[in-house]
Amino acid sequence: MRTFGASTGGASSGAASSGAANTTAASTVEVRDLRVHAGARELVRGVDLTIAPGERVGLIGGSGSGKSLTAYALMGLLDDELHATGSVTVGGVDVLRAGERTMSRTRGRVASVVFQEPMTALNPLMTVGAQVAEAVLWHGGGSRAAARRRAVELLDLVRLPDPAGAARSFPHQLSGGQRQRVVIAIALANDPALLICDEPTTALDVTVQARVLELVAELVRARDTALLFISHDLAVVGAMADRVAVMHDGRVVETGPVREVLGAPRHEHTRALLAASGTGGPRTRPAAGVGHSALEPAAPDARPVFLAEDGTTPLIRARDLRRDYPGRRTGLLGRSAPVAGLRGVSFDIAEGAAVGLVGESGSGKSTLLRLIAGLDTATAGSVEVAGCDPATADRAALRRLRGDVSVVFQDPAGSLDPRMTVAQIVAEPLHGLPRAETADRVREVVASVGLPPDALERHPHRFSGGQRQRISIARALVTRPRILVADEPVSALDVSVRGQVLDLITDLAGSHDLTLLFIAHDLGVVAQVCDRVLVLADGRIVEGGPVGDVYDRPRHPFTAELVAATPRLADALRQA
């Protein structure tokens, strides 16, 4: 366990109610006793919040704590069926009493938002430049040509390479990080006094996240813009904010300088959030069947990475595995050159190991998963899982293999059929068993993942994200597999339930003697669950070995960058 910074001075300043810092009339944001109702239910229960000009405030809390509702209330963007009372003043505008006409003139100039998902925040049919220019024109007036020029300047400001070219491209032609930069450019087009960021980097890779956060911090500082930064990631908030407010169940339960609140939390809920957020430090898992790894020295390309003990037969054995995807259609018959998903990957994994597979999106992690689970066939090379190569196996062998390998997918909402009941979903992998035995197996496994027995007859939409992932895990374990492949199983989950799901996976892997293959882009999560790690970059394995070694002494520059880019709370607090 890593400790959080120094506990400075203990709990002294700042009452747990209001922002305390600058309560002058010139505050950018003044929220007094904000309450939001949905019918009879109170979702936000009396929030007070003050943000001074140029101040950076972090808002943290689990999902359903009311942090996004509070931010939407600041923008006057609450849904019609929600009713807000209290007083909200942003840049001198009384938001709750101003009509939509006033607000639409105010938004963008006084306050703007950067949303979580940059793809859906942009119009796919408009060039990026036109969308930035639209934001400029909306308030500024002036000529179209001037707005276009300003758009290019703004794209340059958010450091898009070749801003003039970027202005002519469509959102899908840019990467996720570049799209988020465009959204930031739009948000800053009219020099707002307040910038609200609602989990702006959650959908991005770690290294991209670091660069985007740096950009936001810099722009905000240079322009003296007030910042309200919403995130569930305490380390990110710690790096971005001067002051934090912790929300729980519609209330602000704790607020104060970052260092005090996150360094020496006073409210139990803040402590729970800190405990749940994981600390990024490696955690040793009781070794199950894995001795010391005879790791080859840094072998970026061809040489296999052995994660198995010498002499034992590996459970998964990949040799020079390649997978190319057909290129894009060019014209009627032509195709561009094939795109490589994996460019020759070799490794051994011993039975009972818990291996993390780390890399950015597009590095080939998911391709590798599909090959191992027999969902896809390699272009070249071979993979042998439990003595069977899915590419050459006959029907019976493939069926055995698919019983041996189970997959837990990333998005618990998308991987469960909304039309099926939990019992039907969990029973799906069971073939040809008598009805009674199927029911017994399903009931048993559903109980073992900690779901109530009455869950069986319900549909997935009645469950929370964490519970849905438990259903997914139950489906994966019902065949009593030997290998569990988890594709970013917690990245779509709320931070407060991540820990529980990770613990569940670790426990079940131990009790079922599972070999665990755990895909993640978050190094901290891998460290919590795995004892070995493989780092993938651009379709190749660049590094592999015990988690502690790889994280503490990365040998490949890419690994070093990945480790450095991972936000750590302790570092954030040290700098605060």
Binding site: R41, A373, G403, Q410, G414, P418, R419, I425, E428, H459
Partner: protein
């Protein structure tokens, strides 16, 4: 919505069933003495048509033909179109290309012309009309089914089913069909409306229901020549068609929502 739709459709169905046993007057024999009577004369609630037949009895008898033609045409379209669409969407590649190009050709071919060709080849009548209308509607069902299938196939639960070693038939039956059911219900209610209207048009052209069998379409056609002196004669069958189609559409939308487990949200779910 389901309730009002079900009530309307139920009433039409009740009329059709009742006409098997009882109608106010015998709808078939003509009576030159009683032609073109106004409403509420001589016990004729809505009057009589140019041949002296009771309009209420004709409407009741006609509902049988109309429902039969619509339902049978939709059933044929479903049976032909949906498997083709799901197959094309799941198989992809050249199968998809062949099926989709075939539907392109079929859609480019005017449906009425197809019916006329069928009529000329196999003899005009309700059965040929139903067959032809069903076949003409099948391509749009294939299209809708295919696009829904593509969406479902991209979902992770299908990948999960494949990882669980479930074959294409299982995936089609357990995952694709239930999840595109809503689309198909809506498409069915649209196709039914089109079939009812097409039956009217065909009867008008002489390729649909043969005289003297009354149908709503034939009533429209026969009333047409008297539209200036007796406008009510086209109003009644017109209203009957409009109300039936409305009822079916309401029922279709309602059923789609009712069969979606997601729309039965627990009480007091936050709306955000």
């Amino acid at each position: 919505m389901v309730r009002s739709g079900a009530v309307i459709v139920g009433l039409v169905l009740a009329c059709a069933l009742l006409s098997l046993l009882w109608t106010p007057f015998d709808p078939l024999p003509t009576d030159a003495a009683a032609r073109l009577l106004g409403p509420l004369t001589d016990g004729h609630l809505l009057g009589t048509d140019p041949y002296g037949r009771d309009v209420v009895s004709l409407l009741m008898y006609g509902s049988r033909i109309t429902l039969l033609v619509g339902l049978a045409a939709v059933a044929i379209a479903l049976v032909v179109g949906v498997p083709a669409g799901i197959g094309a969407g799941m198989a992809g590649g050249w199968v998809d290309q062949v099926v989709m190009r075939a539907t392109d050709v079929a859609l480019a071919f005017p449906a009425l012309l197809l019916v006329i060709v069928f009529g000329a080849a196999f003899g005009a009548g309700a059965t040929t009309a139903v067959l032809a209308l069903g076949i003409a509607a099948a391509p749009s069902f294939a299209r809708v089914a295919r696009s829904g299938t593509l969406q479902v196939m991209a979902r992770e639960y299908v990948t999960a089913a494949r990882a669980a070693n479930r074959g294409p038939l299982w995936i089609a039956r357990r995952h694709v069909l239930p999840n595109i059911g809503g689309l198909l219900v809506v498409q069915s209610s649209v196709a039914f409306s089109i079939a009812v209207l097409a039956e009217a048009a065909l009867s008008y052209l002489g390729f649909g229901t043969r005289p003297p069998t009354p149908s709503w379409g034939r009533m429209l056609q026969e009333g047409q020549s008297h539209i200036y002196d007796h406008p009510l004669l086209v109003l009644w069958p017109g209203c009957a068609i409009a109300v039936t189609v409305l009822g079916l559409n309401l029922l279709g939308d309602g059923l789609r929502d009712r069969f979606d487990p997601r729309s039965r949200a627990p009480e007091g779910t936050a709306a955000l």
